[in-house]
């Protein structure tokens, strides 16, 4: 285990902006792609 607690985990050794900025944008991109595709599939069927 690397972390003393959740606050230490979220702090990422002072690199929170870079680490969570990377993971957050990646997650947002993939979620947006799935959402757009889901809507497109629904329209294609209609």
């Amino acid at each position: 285990m690397n972390w003393g607690g959740w606050s230490e985990f979220w702090a990422m050794g002072g690199k929170a902006f870079y680490v969570w900025g990377s993971y957050g944008v990646t997650l947002a991109c993939l979620a947006a792609e799935v959402w757009v595709l889901w809507r497109r599939a629904r329209e294609a069927k209609a």
Partner: protein
């Protein structure tokens, strides 16, 4: 039944459409499971890097995204070439279905690389050979999509896109070997087929799990998208 006939059977839209749906669903489930495992290993098992501190954890998405960006381009160009050579409609649709996901992974590779570069190198961006050729890859994907969108007739759009995709494939080995050919700020490969990886085994495990997750994700969304394209065109 000979194997040739079997391939034609798979290539027929009536067979492919439901098969793609089933494969997309299971690939999506697999992607979620692999990503959960990869994130667990990446954040809770892999130790803090002695030189880079916690910022190195960005590589668990950066490296797999960069691999996918190059790999998807080759797969896209492969289907485009097959479509051009044999005039098979489904091949062109596959190429069109892969392009947006490839572009997305290229953007993610550039974005996460930038956020890794700032704390590690001291700069968000440098015009080094690796970064510049990866940016060109993004423009190739966007150019392919823009070209196809600009042509109304889908068959003509497929052919025009195929030419661009095939010419652009030259950029992939340039990206891959850029760190050897030029004196770049970007580090060389830590993982290669010819020698032992130069990183801790838990770090490598996290990275490979994330790579497999992105792989499964790409299969899922590409197949889901090709189903949309098939419905829209017919």
């Amino acid at each position: 039944m000979s194997s040739t006939i079997k391939w034609y059977w798979f290539a027929s839209p009536q067979t492919f459409y439901p098969l793609a749906g089933t494969l997309a669903r299971w690939s999506g489930v697999l992607a979620a499971v692999l990503a959960a495992a990869g994130l667990y290993v990446g954040f809770f098992v892999a130790p803090t890097d002695a030189q880079q501190g916690e910022a190195y954890r960005i590589i668990f998405i950066h490296v797999p995204a960069a691999w996918m960006s190059m790999f998807l381009y080759v797969v896209m160009a492969f289907w485009a070439a097959i479509g051009l050579a044999f005039n098979t409609r489904l091949s062109g649709m596959m190429a069109s279905a892969i392009a947006p996901t490839g572009a997305l992974f290229t953007f993610i590779a550039l974005w996460t690389g930038s956020l890794w570069g700032r704390p590690t190198w001291g700069a968000y961006w440098v015009w080094d050979a690796r970064l510049t050729s990866e940016l060109i890859l993004l423009f190739l994907y966007l150019g392919f999509m823009a070209l196809q969108a600009a042509i109304d007739d889908p068959r003509r759009a497929d052919r025009a896109g195929a030419v661009l995709a095939i010419v652009g494939v030259i950029n992939v080995p340039i990206i891959y070997y850029s760190v050897k050919w030029w004196n770049t700020l970007h580090q060389g490969a830590s993982v290669s087929l010819t020698r032992a990886p130069s990183m801790a085994s838990t770090m490598l495990a996290g990275m490979l799990l994330m790579a497999l997750a992105f792989w499964a994700y790409s299969i899922a969304v590409s197949l889901a998208r090709v189903r949309c394209i098939m419905r829209e065109r017919e």
